[in-house]
Each structure stands twice: as C-alpha cells, then as structure tokens.
C-alpha cells in the first residue's frame, strides 16, 4: 500500500460510501483533498502528509459513529440507536465495556419492566373475571379473599401493569436522550484503536 493522497481518499470513500449521503461524503473528501493540496504547496510530500494525518480507517470510524449518533438523535428508533451504539463500539476496545455492557444492561432492564407490565395487565382482567363469577352466582373457585376484594385487587393490578408499561416508555425515552449525549461525549474522548476493524 502506498501512502499517498489517492490512497487516503480512496480508503475514506470505501469505508464511508453506503453509510453517509453522497453530498456529505463529497464534502468530507474535499476537506482532506484541500489539506493535501495546501500541504503540498508548502513543499511537503504526500507520504509525510499521510503519516501526520494518521490512519484514515480511524477517521472513517469516527465520522461514521458521529453520523449514526446524529441520525439516532434526529429520528428516534430502535434500529438507529442500535447502529449508533454499534458504530461507537467500533471506535475502541474500551467501548466494549463502556458502551456495550451498559447498553445491554439497560435493554434487559427495560425489557423486564415491560414484560412485568404486560403480565400484570393481563393477569388483572383474568382475576377480575374469576372474582366476578361467584358474585354472578356462577360460583367456581374458592378464593382466600372475598369476591369484592378480588374485584378491587384485580383492577388495582391492571392499573399497575398499565402504569408500568407507560413508565417503561418514559424511562426508555429518558435513557435514549441520555444515551445520545453520552455517545456524543464518548466520540469526543475515546481515541480510536487499530485493533478493531
């Protein structure tokens, strides 16, 4: 591999095309082309400029992560945040611990709360029916509490389940917002490594 301008720009283009919109990519490439152009006009060699710029792969990873995070910020979706997280993890081994692990823990936590919410809001109505049966005279099961208490209790459980689902939604939104801010900070601070491709 030759360390020249063409090679540098080619690596950036290959790594970023398909991810970034074309006009974005052209703009980025023109920045680096300008850098080489001015550098050469000051008498520096392409190889020297290439070496000082450092790895184009690292630059590409950083640009990609920034783009994904911005996209996830603009349009909230599971797919977008997943891409944002994955591309940030690509920035360095560090982020396996500082991004991937917290992300998985949060997803599991939110998932569990949601499941519990669904369980309660399904269980409630079922209990309601069972408590209603003896009152209507179609007696069936013998509860350890009175049918009237059963009715109240089942309504309580249903509401609790629904509240949990609503709460989970707001919790997810909050984590989403904080997560984006954290990823942005992370990109500014985490230095790319060569070890992850």
């Amino acid at each position: 591999m030759q360390k020249n301008e063409q090679e540098y720009l080619a690596i950036l283009r290959t790594r970023l095309s398909g991810t970034l919109p074309q006009e974005n990519l052209d703009d980025i490439l023109s920045d680096y082309a300008e850098h080489f152009r001015i550098g050469k006009s000051k008498g520096r060699s392409e190889e020297d400029l290439y070496t000082s710029l450092g790895s184009p792969e690292e630059v590409a990873r950083e640009i990609k992560a920034t783009y994904m995070v911005t996209k996830a910020e603009e349009t909230r979706s599971c797919g977008n945040i997943l891409h944002a997280v994955l591309s940030t993890i690509g920035l360095g081994l560090f982020n396996l611990v500082f991004v991937l692990v917290p992300f998985i823990v949060l997803v599991i936590l939110l998932g569990l709360i949601f499941l519990a919410g669904v369980m309660f809001s399904v269980m409630g109505p079922v209990m309601f029916v069972f408590a209603l049966l003896p009152i209507l005279g179609i007696s069936s099961f013998d509860f350890w509490f009175s049918p009237a208490a059963g009715l109240f209790f089942s309504i309580g459980i249903t509401s609790f389940g629904i509240l949990m689902i609503i709460g989970d939604y707001y919790l997810a939104r909050t984590f989403y917002y904080l997560g984006i801010r954290y990823l942005k900070w992370n990109i500014n601070v985490i230095k790319g490594t060569e070890s992850i491709v």
């Binding site: 980025i28 920045d31 680096y32 152009r37 006009s41 184009p56 640009i63 601070v189 790319g192």
Partner: protein
C-alpha cells in the same frame, strides 16, 4: 503522553485557536500539531461536529496560491463555549499542578 487523554482536550484547543483568528483547515491542524502530537486527521471530524452543533461556521475565501480555501469561524455560542471551557480547564490544570507540586514537596 496518554493518547486517550489528548483527544479529550482537542476540542478546547481547536476552539481556542479559532478564538484568536479564523483559520483554514490545514492552518488550524498545523497550529495544534506544532504543540501537541496527535493524529491530525481527527481534527476534521471534530470541526464537523462543532459545525453541526452550531459552534463554528465555514466560509470560502480566495487565496493567492490557488483555489479558495474553507475557513472556520467561531459563532457567538462557540465563543461562549470557548470562554467557559477555557476557564474550567485553567482551574482544573492549576489544581492538578498544585496537587502534583504538593506531593513532590512532601517527598523531598
């Protein structure tokens, strides 16, 4: 020096250089890499983020030596950010220095 450490302060360095004067990319990169050894290529993505966040704007200006160059200029909010971050950094740095000197003196 730890590379991890350097990247974190790159933003304040860029803002600070631009607070003195508008620069084109190569010039800015040069100003910084004269003093700090970094991968110069990562300054451009940083500039892009600063622009997206509204701290920096760009404009094209003709040059004597060739095609027009892209200049970077701090916005009003960029100036505020520069001011705040500089103050924070100064305080942090002087505290760390005091601490390090204190420890050094205690060792003697």
């Amino acid at each position: 020096m730890n590379v991890q450490f350097k990247k974190g302060v790159l933003e304040i360095c860029v803002l600070s250089v631009l607070a003195h004067k508008d620069c084109y990319g190569y010039e800015l990169v040069n100003e910084i890499s004269k003093r700090i050894d970094i991968s110069e290529g990562t300054i451009y993505p940083l500039l892009r983020r600063l622009k997206d966040d509204g701290f920096v704007t760009t404009y094209l200006q003709e040059s004597v030596e060739g095609p027009p160059r892209k200049y970077y200029r701090l916005t009003e909010s960029g100036r505020t950010k520069e001011h705040d971050q500089k103050e924070e950094w100064m305080q942090f740095a002087s505290s760390v220095n005091e601490l390090l000197e204190g420890v050094a003196n205690a060792e003697e």
